[in-house]
């Protein structure tokens, strides 16, 4: 039985054991409901790090920031509700403020959470939670299945947050729910034109940093403003930027030296200061520099430019990370959240009849192979663990980096019959068993091979 099925049946069993306790029942019901929903991803970080910006970039629409937790869910039509305490939710209107969507929170300014239903492609697979900066790790992680943590250069405070997110026996065994983001990548290197590639290098270094590595699956760098620009670039803005790039490079550079100069009175082009100010606010000085340079380099249509920006801003990489680590592993993350919830329940309301469930939970946590697979995927992809090239590709495929169905794992691109699958699997199993006991290979190599062997053994069980 797969992990999510096991945990699901445990949830149902717990509902039976605790049916006389209204609090426990409500708790279990909410988690059972959550089990079937899309994966919930919280976006957290220190104040002014750009949480809302990253959320906007992911959704592809701009919303004004709020003071409370804001949930963005997929929906057929735009709607918003405020939840305060145990009462019924209040419907809120979504208006426009400038070029942004604005949820009129009004008197519900400080509500527990605002839930926005929004028709967006990203939101089909995920629920995004924008968190206030003063929220504690417990508040952030209580409702979320996964975490996107924004930081600049890694500071002690960030590490503290990430560690406290894993400060639980179950969470520690299954530290598979965090992607760290080196945010505001455009400000690195004092806004030099190559800031983004240098930010990517720094992110790569952090991926292997022993202080950062154990608490997250991946580190990517994202320039939030550019990412939003990529998703929401408007016709008029593009036109203005084209006009700017028509100016000589030297001359433009002079005026792009500082934000003050760019927005100042003396400007060689007939362009309203308010327009320039707006451009600055939307893209930042670095954004204007990069976009004009890109247009000059020949990305002169909006489509071409947007593609470049998505790629350069790191938004593409972030989306890939979310897809690989979170969306595809929805079942595992949901199971993880449910196990944490069950553990809370068993500790808050211990009872004799739940003893067997407690033991079951412990056993599942100790033996869940899925978590180990996820850690290995992250380790191989980030380069923390290295295998010889052809082995690495095969290992990634087998442990489910390209899809978790047996044919995908075994590398079949067509509908293979059971015999073929079985043969390929036995072949792989033998090969990896040899790797796992290869005395000449380094320690982490052998450990990775052991995990692959275990995966193969489980597949064998599934096939027969």
């Amino acid at each position: 039985m797969t992990l999510d099925r096991v945990v699901w049946s445990m949830l149902q069993e717990a509902l039976g054991v605790y049916r006389d306790s209204p609090r426990a029942t409500a708790w279990l019901r909410s988690h059972a409901e959550r089990y079937t929903e899309p994966v919930r991803i919280a976006v957290a970080g220190r104040s002014r790090i750009g949480k809302s910006t990253v959320v906007n970039a992911l959704i592809g629409d701009e919303f004004t920031p709020q003071n409370s937790f804001v949930w963005y869910r997929g929906g057929t039509e735009p709607r918003a509700h405020a939840f305060t305490g145990p009462g019924r939710p209040h419907e809120l209107t979504i208006g426009r403020r400038g070029n942004r969507n604005h949820v009129e929170a009004g008197q519900f300014d400080r509500s527990d959470r605002v839930v926005v239903d929004w028709p967006a492609r990203t939101l089909r697979d995920v629920v995004l939670i924008d968190t206030p900066s003063e929220a504690t790790p417990e508040q952030v992680l209580g409702d979320a299945d996964a975490l996107v943590y924004l930081m600049r250069h890694v500071q002690d405070e960030d590490l503290k947050f990430l560690r406290s997110a894993n400060d639980h026996p179950i969470a520690r065994t299954a530290a598979v729910h965090t992607v760290a983001v080196l945010a505001r990548a455009d400000e690195i290197g004092a806004g030099r034109i190559d800031a983004l590639s240098s930010a990517k290098q720094i992110a790569r270094r952090y991926r292997r940093d022993p202080a950062v590595e154990p608490s997250c699956q991946n580190v990517v760098s994202v320039a939030g403003l550019l990412a939003v620009a990529a998703r929401t670039l408007r016709e008029d803005e593009f036109a203005a930027l084209r006009v700017l790039s028509s100016l000589g490079r030297e001359e433009l550079e002079d005026h792009l030296l500082s934000a003050d100069r760019f927005a100042g009175e003396q400007f060689p082009l007939a362009m309203e200061p308010t327009v320039r100010q707006a451009l600055l606010e939307r893209f930042g000085i670095f954004g204007v520099r990069l976009i004009t340079a890109l247009i000059r380099q020949g990305f002169d249509s909006q489509v071409k430019l947007t593609g470049q920006l998505v790629q350069r801003s790191g938004l593409g990489e972030l989306r890939d990370s979310i897809a690989v680590h979170f969306v595809e592993r929805r079942e595992v993350l949901k199971a993880r959240s449910a196990m944490l919830a069950l553990d809370v329940l068993f500790r808050m309301e211990p009872r004799q009849s739940a003893r067997r469930l407690v033991a079951d939970l412990e056993r599942v946590v100790a033996s869940a192979h899925d978590f180990r697979e996820l850690r290995l995927v992250a380790a191989l992809q980030s380069g923390r663990t290295k295998l010889p090239a052809e082995l690495q590709t095969e290992a990634l495929r087998l442990i489910g980096a390209e899809g978790v169905a047996p044919p995908a794992r075994l590398g079949f691109e067509y509908e293979a019959d059971a015999g073929e699958l079985r043969e390929a699997l036995l072949d792989a199993l033998l090969r990896w068993q040899a790797q796992a006991v290869d005395v000449h290979a380094p320690q982490n190599h052998r450990r990775a091979a052991q995990i692959v062997v275990r995966t193969c053994e489980e597949l064998l069980l599934q096939l027969s």
């Binding site: 220190r46 104040s47 002014r48 600049r152 250069h153 890694v154 500071q155 002690d156 405070e157 590490l159 505001r184 400000e187 690195i188 290197g189 004092a190 806004g191 800031a195 240098s198 930010a199 290098q201 720094i202 270094r205 940093d209 202080a211 950062v212 030296l257 500082s258 934000a259 003050d260 100069r261 927005a263 100010q277 600055l280 606010e281 930042g284 000085i285 670095f286």
Partner: protein, 635 residues
């Protein structure tokens, strides 16, 4: 006091204090200098150092001496601190218009870099000569390196700091700019080396970039810096990048005001300054904000070195004095109340324990008496019970058996049984006695190792009782049997002879003879039966006597040993109690003496302490007068 700008390239640089002094060694006596015109802060500092020596605080002393040496050093150290990636190195570069410190997108600066004046550009790395030594007080060696290689090579192990010298007018006056590794980095060694350098700073430039207002971590850092060095200027960098930098600066000013920190705040852009230097664009230079910063460095730091020194000394000395005063004051208050209270309470405690001992010794004596009485009666009962069982067995046996047969065996059996009864009974007595000893020990007022006596038993017990007397056994011999038979047969012959003579038979006939024989046999049987009964009775009586004897003797023994045990336990425990009482009385007496002695001694020490405290507080006030943050300290 002095005009630095008046001494441009003078080979002899002015001292911060404007005084001349001879060789000043850290370890030597303080005061080996010929004071021409000692500035006020030096006196105060020296006095504070003296106070630290008197109060045996070598740690504070060392810290103050370090500060003293540093203040007398003509160099002015300006530390550039801040979180990582705020633009510290770039700020130093822009201030000097030279790429002295390497800048990079990732963590770049790994060791403190000292930038000072030199006639020709030069650079050196200073590293611990011995590997693994601490940052302080270990021999170091200098390695000359090209300036552009400094950062690369500084990443090597054991490098303590980098030193760079370049010819710049700004540094001419002895100004040293110290670029530091970022604070709060994941590599705590960086933070540690920054804080170590902080101790030597005369002034501090705290760097925070304009992309965000001062974070709580930065405010904490700022407060920490203020404790070591009060001359802080906050520099907001990267204003070229941020359209809303004016707003950030305003927010920062408000944050500083709210935290009660009086520090200048200067917004700058290193990028603009460096560009202006390249193109010689004066307007851009003004825009970069650096002219203000340079003026600030020159007027607030270089020109007012004396004020800085006074302030720095004030902060360090007052922190040291506070540390001296606190324990002293505590001691005084202890003298006032709690010390006396402590001696008195010792006395009370001692008296209380003596009383307690008396009360409880009555208790243990009662326990001993009661328990021993119980013990003796129990043991006697047990013994009686056992002997009665034996006697019953004897009775049962001799109701049937003939003592004439197997008396020896019986004697052995009886002896064995009595012995066993005695042994069991006595073992029980011993066990009970030990139990009683333990119980008494529990009721004894204090616990001691030797509380339970090793042996309480007399050794001369279990003397064998008198031998069992063999009862008189009368055997039934043949002549006796014959005689008895004849006597019985006589009556039979006569009786039947008379009856048959009536029938005309002679007196002695067949019938009378037969009857005679019959009668004779019967009387023999009767006689032997009676004799058996007699023998049995005799045997029983003998056994009874013996057991009685045994019981008499042994119960006496048991009772004796019981009393013996009781006596020895009583002796044992009363000796202990007397010892204890003596100890307690002694401690009570000494406590009483202490209370009396304390009075005079305390008054003397109080007087001295007060005098010392007054002295320190006066000194503290003088320190405060030097010009530091106003702090209240009263005796």
């Amino acid at each position: 006091m002095r005009n630095v700008t008046a001494l441009p390239n003078s080979p002899i640089r002015p001292f911060k204090t404007g005084i001349a002094f001879e060789a000043f060694t850290q370890g030597g006596e303080h005061g080996t200098m010929s004071q021409v015109m000692a500035p006020p802060w030096l006196d105060v500092l020296d006095e504070t150092i003296g106070a630290c020596v008197t109060h045996r605080r070598p740690d504070l002393e060392a810290r103050l001496r370090e500060k003293r040496a540093q203040q007398l050093d003509p160099k002015l150290r300006v530390l550039v601190v801040g979180e990582s990636k705020q633009g510290k190195s770039q700020l130093v570069n822009a201030l000097l218009n030279a790429p002295v410190c390497a800048v990079g997108d990732d963590i770049t600066t790994t060791v403190p870099t000292f930038v000072q004046h030199a006639d020709t550009p030069s650079a050196a790395l200073v590293r611990n000569a011995s590997a693994g030594g601490s940052i302080f007080h270990t021999p170091t060696e200098r390695i000359a390196v090209p300036i552009d290689q400094v950062t690369k090579q500084a990443a090597a192990q054991h490098v303590v700091r980098a030193e760079i010298g370049i010819p710049r007018a700004l540094l001419d006056s002895g100004l040293v700019l110290i670029d530091t590794p970022g604070v709060g980095d994941t590599r705590s060694a960086h933070t540690a080396s920054t804080f170590a350098t902080l101790m030597q700073a005369d002034a501090v430039l705290l760097v925070s970039d304009a992309t965000g207002e001062l974070t709580s971590a930065e405010m904490t850092l700022l407060k920490k810096v203020m404790e070591a060095c009060p001359n802080v200027t906050v520099v907001v960098t990267k204003i070229d990048l941020v359209p809303s930098w004016r707003h950030v600066v305003e927010r920062n000013r408000a944050l500083l005001a709210r935290a009660g920190i009086r520090a200048k705040l200067i917004p700058v852009s290193s990028a603009l300054r460096l560009r202006a230097a390249k193109t010689g664009d004066q307007r851009l230079n003004t825009e970069s904000g650096f002219p203000e910063l340079v003026t600030c460095v020159q007027s607030d730091i270089v020109a007012s070195a004396d004020l800085l020194a006074r302030r720095a000394v004030a902060v360090v000395a007052s922190s040291a004095l506070t540390q001296l005063v606190t324990p002293l004051r505590e001691e005084l208050t202890t003298h006032d109340s709690s010390h006396t209270v402590a001696t008195i309470s010792t006395l009370q405690e001692a008296q209380r324990r003596v009383d307690e001992l008396r009360r409880r010794s009555a208790r243990w004596q009662n326990v001993l008496n009661d328990e021993m009485a119980d013990l003796i009666s129990d043991v006697e009962y047990d013994l009686r019970d056992r002997t009665r069982k034996i006697l019953r067995e004897v009775d049962k046996t001799y109701d049937e058996a003939d003592p004439a047969i197997g008396w020896d065996k019986f004697e052995q059996w009886l002896e064995d049984n009595l012995n066993e009864a005695a042994t069991t009974n006595f073992a029980w007595l011993m066990e009970r006695a030990e139990w009683v000893a333990a119980k008494v020990a529990r009721n004894f007022p204090v616990y001691r190792e030797d509380l339970i006596p090793g042996s309480v038993l007399p050794d001369d017990l279990l003397e064998p009782a008198s031998k069992l007397e063999k009862p008189k056994i009368e055997p039934f011999s043949m002549p006796q049997k014959l005689f008895t038979g004849l006597r019985g047969s006589y009556g039979g012959v006569l009786m039947f002879g008379l009856v048959t003579s009536l029938a005309g038979m002679p007196l002695i006939n067949v019938i009378s003879l037969g009857a005679g024989a019959l009668f004779g046999g019967k009387s023999i049987l009767d006689e032997s039966d009676q004799r058996l009964k007699r023998r049995q009775a005799a045997a029983k009586a003998a056994a009874q006597r013996h057991v009685d004897d045994f019981f008499m003797k042994f119960s006496k023994d048991v009772r004796d040993s019981g009393r013996h045990i009781q006596r020895s336990l009583r002796n044992h425990f009363s000796t202990l109690a007397e010892e204890l009482q003596e100890t307690l009385l002694e401690s009570a007496r000494s406590a009483k003496r202490a209370v009396q002695d304390d009075q005079t001694e305390r008054e003397r020490r109080m007087r001295e302490g007060r005098k010392e405290l007054d002295r320190l507080v006066t000194l503290y006030k003088r320190v405060q007068a030097l010009g530091g943050p106003a702090m209240e300290l009263t005796a």
